[in-house]
Symmetry: C2
Amino acid sequence: MRTLNERSDVVPRIAEVFRELGYEGTSLSQIIERTGVGKGSLYHFFPGGKEEMAGAVLADVDAWFERHVFQPLQDEDSDRAIATMWDAVNSYFCSGGRICLVGAFALDETRNRFADVIAGYFRRWIQALTGALVRQGWDKAAAAATAEEIVLGIQGALILARALGDQAVFSRSMQRLQVRTRRSSHRR
Amino acid sequence: MRTLNERSDVVPRIAEVFRELGYEGTSLSQIIERTGVGKGSLYHFFPGGKEEMAGAVLADVDAWFERHVFQPLQDEDSDRAIATMWDAVNSYFCSGGRICLVGAFALDETRNRFADVIAGYFRRWIQALTGALVRQGWDKAAAAATAEEIVLGIQGALILARALGDQAVFSRSMQRLQVRTRRSSHRR
DNA sequence: TTTAGTTTGTACCCAACAGTATAGAAGAGC
DNA sequence: GCTCTTCTATACTGTTGGGTACAAACTAAA
């Protein structure tokens, strides 16, 4: 039986704290309180302190998307790939009840600490989605533009749903965006 | 000649600090340093401290949009109204170089402090834009859906532009969104 | 020029902050 | 059971956080 913590199962718990409070709004004491992991363990796993914790969290999120969204987008059959993405997005963001950590970090001064990871995450997403659309028969420019609009639309929907305190806004937006990735949408 | 400060000309300077650093990331010392206003003056104008400062900043932003975007949207001739909105949005957000304070506040725990103002800002914007589209001949449901997509698209574009460190993303997105508010777009 | 009201600088408060040191507990391999 | 490594709790440090107190400086109106 495993009673002690491992770094890998602490990361997602810390992620949730950063997601709710933001990088600057998250204090060590909050992390300790909400995760139940003591300060000793925390600094054992992350000698670099808060910044290293946030870095690990970002890397974890990035890896999750790489595995469940970006890779499928470039490997699977294009129809299936895009369907997988929409499923993943809907469940990951809990139908709008959860925000995008990477997007949140992009907005304030925190961006400068993690500029590369943040930019990489979005670039990769857009690139992978563009590829899937091209394989579906879209011309390259239209695919790139649409991919950008989809990714940006998801971020906007998360903001708006949270701002209005209404998850339905997110669901509605996902449906409208989803329609635009249908096989037929590139000829209109 | 005026050498002393007035509350009204201090607010926009504080706004810029909150915009760059976020609510939690902004410390009193940062405000003092970046605005050049001393702690004495600050607490004289805002006895409620940091929270009152942020409240004043939000009210100021809201008032600006009310005057330059929302009112025009519901008063002016619909074509003109929408054109005014796009001009205002482009210049206000400095072509993507500046983020939306209200959107940023919506993402973390800060939302809970200012939930009403934040929700009100977006509700009002969507409502005013919906009205203008209806006056342009759109049917009500389509107008509401499009207004939501436009507002959310602007927020998403701000996130993405900042995440990628590329203002061109914002300009591109604004052009694509703008096309959708053209008089002809509601019949496709 | 006095006076009343507004604005400002400075010194101070305590709580919370990130981070350190270290001793001890728990688990794995032998 | 012994030992080496990994993990954890606790007490402690210096710094910065938001906020207060108040006296001095400034301005406008009489």
